[in-house]
Amino acid sequence: MTIVFDFIIGLVTGILSGFGIGGGSLLILYLTLFSGVPQYTAAGINLLYFIFCAPAALISHFKNKLIDGKTALCCIAAGVPSSVLAAIAAAYLDVGVLRRIFGVFLLYIGIRELFFDIPSRRKAPGRRPDSDLVSSGAESGAIKNPEKKTDI
């Protein structure tokens, strides 16, 4: 039964992860709160998990022309060294302290996700970044009007 439940948790958080909506944070919470996994181990499991989950979603995003390649490459180049340093730093912290810091981070993110909209796109002169999107009909009405409230 636990196996089925774990699979479902993986499935649901995987869908969110593929969207880029923080499935990983939820998975870490599940592992630490319900499976009793220590914070650092849970973080490691989530990283491994993302390697399983993200490629398929990424292929679809590529096919749908949703990836800004230049931006991605730049961010990856900058992110690799900071990832390594941060991962080493986390290894030396007390697990309880790490979990508390993670909690503060979650509260900040949670309040932001719950109460604030992602700001509408700034006008970038001379660029038509999503013309391909609109023509392919990939956007829903709600996304075309980011100001429109869709509170639950």
């Binding site: 499935g23 390594v84 941060a86 991962a87 949670g110 719950l114």
Partner: protein, 116 residues
């Protein structure tokens, strides 16, 4: 260029330190700073986080060791979730999902801060 480097650096820091959450930094910065359309920002964040996760994972593996044997059902679920995710993304209302996610994450955040 400078903004992209700062954005990527922050995402890497979150990814390495927490083992998650890089995307949560990336999406708003992509939209606000770099002028990406929303869905594009979410999708591009996945493209950035995947290689960063691979790099962080190496460190975590060396420092802590990760046993796959106990978490394989979750990994398998993630594999299927990833496939589903890419296919349905076009028709998804991201805002509603963010709100639900926000509630769950605040609950988890409170428990994490209090270590309960």
């Amino acid at each position: 260029m400078k903004k992209k480097i700062i954005t990527g650096g922050l995402a890497g820091a979150a990814n390495g330190f927490f083992g998650a959450g890089g995307g949560l930094f990336l999406v708003p910065l992509f939209v606000r700073w770099l002028g990406l359309e929303q869905k594009r920002a979410f999708a591009t964040s996945v493209a950035v986080i995947l290689p960063l996760s691979a790099v962080s994972l190496v460190v975590y593996f060396l420092k802590g060791g990760i046993s796959i044997s106990s978490v394989w059902p979750t990994l398998l679920g993630g594999l299927v979730g990833g496939i589903v995710s890419g296919r349905v993304f076009g028709g998804v209302n991201v805002t509603t999902l963010r709100r639900i996610f926000g509630i769950l994450i605040i609950y988890g955040g409170i428990r994490a801060v209090l270590l309960i």
